[in-house]
Symmetry: C2
Subunit: 393 residues, 2 copies
């Protein structure tokens, strides 16, 4: 038995972790653009990186460290992705770390922003030199890593175990509109003082990414910089595998849902539940096809219960399906069932009223098997076009 | 030797083919919504249909005819797709044809519009009863089959062979914004009086679809109704295989390009050339990924030479690539070459001026093999959202 309680604040609530964010001159208007996470003891670290073939320089830099390395420092900048920057991109990271007046062990860099621009080394060094490593200013860090995010993203829990011991786990993240084929970067930094064994870190990250970050982005169709980092300082002696896995899942789920809801102008967070598919892969494929369909996303924006587009997207997703077995509903309002259309004026009005909510689910029961998957997505409206038509300036 | 000359007019320019379009009450404001193609002799027919699992009723109805059937009539309606309508959808087509006062042999129906609405049989029958089968009114037909199309689409050629004989081939089509994942329907009706053998019809359609319709829509990710029909009455005794294949390719290419340029508010028609890929499939995959990327499409709308998004999309498309071999250019303006960014202010201005054109190409030379593929796409702006947010009304 264990209890997981949400707590206020940022990752600096966890014993031994320090963080802050400053303005280093990368963004305009004195906006925060450079931040750090510092640990006063060495941390174990595990990461999940993008499957994009063009991994950004910070990812390559990380992967050059020896297996099972420990670290005490993560430097994070926005506005520049340091991607498609070749060997110079990695050299620039080494230059930055060599120029800092702190005792750093295997420091990690993480970047997000415009691709294929040289890293502004001087601004970053000058900014980072002013860091106060004993700051506990999570809010500033959360703002410094934002790009097109409309709001900063954090999640914190305290986990109490049966023996009275406890640990904390929390995260700060950025990411908006990351749903394929958007490819906007997501960065997520998770810290904990749980006494988690190294092998559990990897397993827990991998397992939980399936139903969280991978449910909002199609496998492989990721940006050059996508990163999930898990840092553990083990300052608490508390650990229970089941509790840790569940708390980590909750943190990752919270972050994924905040990203979906912040879908670059999105106003609706929608769960696409595909049920009774022939295989798990097919359930996943169909659910993600729905969450990625432009026609479905614009119909959600228009609050139009155009379920024909839902059916057509399912039919086009190359999975096992049969129009005489399919059931489509908005929340619990059935609009199509096994070859019959339930869509008189009354039913249409009910479906339309579901669509007026900020959150709802669209359920497609394929009726051809026993596998389920839920993908998460959002609507797409004018604001999305506005944000993305001229991102670099 | 042969010559292929564009000629004016519609498919009614071909001996023995008749067509017209009328208002049957499906669309509002007296807009044309029902049309036909009639041949005064029986035609051979070949079709390519959608790979969507939920084939619309007209497609199922067609596939119920015996192999190698001949026909003299195609009835086409807009505003209602007769898709996801089960057995009743097919019964409705039979009811329509049984009610018409014409001598029809294996009549074909083709529909486009909203999915999952019962076919308005009475309106269609009452409208079709007024058809004048000796009309030659291709312009009306081309308008009657439009849905979100901004303009009607036609292409006509006369082919002169070395022996002095000649044949005509032409098409009328509808389709806009059909690029995956949009799934808007494309219908294309091609007529010819060439004396083409049945086996060549199938081969020519299949071969030419690769570089035309399949280059603007991802294989399989098609709507419930997509149809390409080829009708041959063989009234001209002229035939030459090479000439016929090339003329058919030109007709299909014209139609595909008109659809891309009419991409639901699109202002730019863009060719995405992927060169020197490891395999043909990878060239195709990367080119289509570019033409389908929301981030690339919105950057085109914003006339922003954000080539980082192009690189990121290539990297995410799961093909063989290497940032030290990649070359990216807008027309002939190179912006990235083998690990180096060519993007000073001058080069950026040159690239930006390419993007101000209505038509241009984006070239990605992968440098890892010898295979090429060009996909065609368009920009995505506010108008797309406006058109699709509330399509049904």
């Amino acid at each position: 038995m264990f209890t997981i309680l949400p707590i206020k604040g940022y990752i600096d609530q966890i014993d031994g972790f320090f963080c802050d964010g400053i303005h280093a001159g990368l963004k305009a208007n004195n906006a925060l653009d450079l931040g750090f996470i510092y640990s006063d003891t060495l941390c174990d670290v595990e990461a999940i990186f993008t499957e994009n073939k063009f991994q950004a320089a910070p990812l390559k830099h990380y992967l050059m460290y020896e297996k099972d390395f420990k670290t005490n420092f993560v430097l994070i900048n926005s506005k520049n992705a340091n991607a498609l920057t070749g060997k110079k991109g990695i050299e620039n990271i080494n230059t930055v770390f060599a120029s800092l007046p702190f005792e750093l062990t295997n420091p990690i860099m993480s970047s997000t922003g415009v691709i294929a621009n040289p890293l502004p080394v001087e601004k970053i060094v000058n900014g980072a030199k002013t860091f106060n490593l004993s700051a506990k200013n999570g809010e500033n860090l959360s703002k410094a890593i934002m790009t097109t995010d409309a709001y900063s993203k954090t999640s914190m829990y305290e986990v109490k175990l049966e023996d009275g011991s406890s640990f904390k786990i929390g995260s700060v993240a950025k990411g908006a509109g990351m749903i394929n084929p958007n490819l906007a970067t997501m960065l997520c930094f998770i810290c904990t003082d749980a006494a988690v064994p190294k092998e559990d870190m990897k397993e827990a990250l991998k397992l939980n990414s399936q139903t969280t970050f991978n449910a909002i982005s199609v496998d492989g169709d990721t940006s050059t910089n996508d990163t999930v980092l898990l840092l553990t300082n083990k300052k608490s002696n508390a650990y229970n595998k089941e509790a840790f896995f569940e708390a980590l899942r909750m943190v990752m789920h919270d972050m994924a849902m905040l990203m979906v809801a912040d879908g670059e102008g999105a106003k609706k967070a929608v769960a696409f539940e595909v049920k009774n598919a022939a295989t798990y892969e097919e359930a996943q494929k169909a659910a993600k096809a729905l969450s990625n369909s432009l026609l479905v996303k614009t119909a959600l924006f228009g609050e139009d219960p155009n379920f024909g587009r839902i059916a057509s997207t399912i039919g086009a997703s190359r999975i096992t399906c049969d129009e005489d077995k399919l059931i489509i509903s908005y929340n619990d309002v059935i609009v199509y069932k096994e070859g019959e259309i339930f869509f008189d004026k009354e039913q249409e009005a009910k479906a339309a009223s579901v669509l007026q909510n900020d959150k709802f689910k669209i359920v497609c029961d394929l009726g051809v098997g026993t596998y389920n998957f839920t993908a998460y997505g959002c609507d797409l409206g004018y604001k999305y076009v506005e944000i993305n038509a001229d991102y670099r300036t």
